[in-house]
Amino acid sequence: MLVRFERIPMVRPALINVAEFEGDNGAAIDLVERPNESIVVVELPGVAKEDVKISLEGELLTIKGERKASGLPDGARWIRSERSSGEFFRTIQLPHPVKADAVSAEMVNGVLRITLPKAEEARPREIGIK
C-alpha cells in the first residue's frame, strides 16, 4: 500500500510557539511515604504562600487557595493566555494517621512541600522476641 505524506506548510509569524501546550494546568501532586512520615508535594507556580491553606481532617489532607491572575498592563493585549488562575482545591487521602501538631510545610520555587509525621501507632516498630 502506498502511503502519501503531506507536507504541512509552516507559518511563522512573530512569537508563535512551536510545541502546543496540552492543557494540564492543575496543581499536580506527588505523595511519598517514608517509614516515619509522608511527604506531599504540590506544584503551585505563581502562588504566594499567603494564598495557600492546608488543612487536615483525620487522614484527609486538603490544599486550597487562590492563584491570582497576572494582570494585563494598560494598553497591552493578550496574545496567549494558558496559565490558569482563580481558586484551586485538592484533597488527598493519606496512607496513615498523622501527628497533626507536627505537620510542616514550605514553598520553594512554586512547589509546596508538606511533611506529615505519622501518628505513633502508625510508625514501624521492632518487636523484641522474648
Binding site: 511563522r12 509569524p13 512573530a14 512569537l15 508563535i16 510557539n17 512551536v18 510545541a19 502546543e20 501546550f21 496540552e22 494540564d24 494546568n25 499536580a28 501532586i29 506527588d30 505523595l31 511519598v32 511515604e33 517514608r34 517509614p35 509522608s38 511527604i39 508535594v41 506544584e43 503551585l44 507556580p45 505563581g46 502562588v47 504566594a48 497576572s70 494585563l72 498592563p73 494598553g75 497591552a76 493585549r77 493578550w78 496574545i79 496567549r80 493566555s81 494558558e82 496559565r83 490558569s84 488527598i92 496512607p95 514553598m107 520555587n109 512554586g110 512547589v111 512541600r113
Partner: protein, 128 residues
C-alpha cells in the same frame, strides 16, 4: 542585578534537547505592549540555575530541568508530576531586539521581556 534574574545566553549550534518528549510543555501567557512582548511560563520546581533561555536563529528556547528529589526519599504512592522538566520553543519575528531581553524567575514562574526593535515601536511624530 538581583538574585531572581536569569541570564540570557546566546548559543550557537545548540543540539535539540535529548529526549524532548520527556519534557512537559509549560503553560504560557504572552502579552504585547507598545515596547515589548512579555512571556510568563510556569516552571514549578525549577531552580534559577537549572533554566536555560536561549535566543538563536529566530527561535527562543526555554528549557528547565527539574529534579524531583522527593521521589527518591521513599515509596511513591501518588504520582502526577511527569517528566524531566519543561521545554518550549517560540519563534521570534524580526521585530524583536534580541540584544535587549530581560528575564526573572519568581515563585516558579519565568517572566521574559523581549523588547521590540526601535523601528517597529509605535512612535508619535511631532508636527511643526
Amino acid at each position: 542585578m538581583n538574585n531572581d534574574e536569569v541570564v540570557v545566553r546566546r548559543e550557537h549550534a545548540t543540539q535539540p534537547p535529548v529526549a524532548e518528549e520527556q519534557y512537559r510543555v509549560p503553560a504560557a501567557d504572552v502579552y504585547e505592549t507598545s515596547e515589548a512582548f512579555v512571556l510568563m511560563l510556569d516552571l514549578p520546581g525549577a531552580m534559577r540555575e537549572s533554566i536555560s533561555l536561549t535566543l538563536e536563529s529566530g527561535e527562543m528556547r526555554v528549557k528547565a530541568d527539574v529534579k524531583p528529589l522527593h521521589r527518591q526519599e521513599g515509596t511513591l504512592l501518588f504520582n502526577e508530576m511527569q517528566g524531566a522538566g519543561f521545554f518550549r520553543a517560540f519563534s521570534i519575528g524580526d521585530g524583536i531586539d534580541t540584544g535587549n531581553v530581560e528575564a526573572r524567575f519568581e515563585q516558579g514562574v519565568l517572566t521574559v521581556k523581549l523588547f521590540k526593535s526601535e523601528d517597529v515601536k509605535p512612535r508619535e511624530i511631532y508636527i511643526n
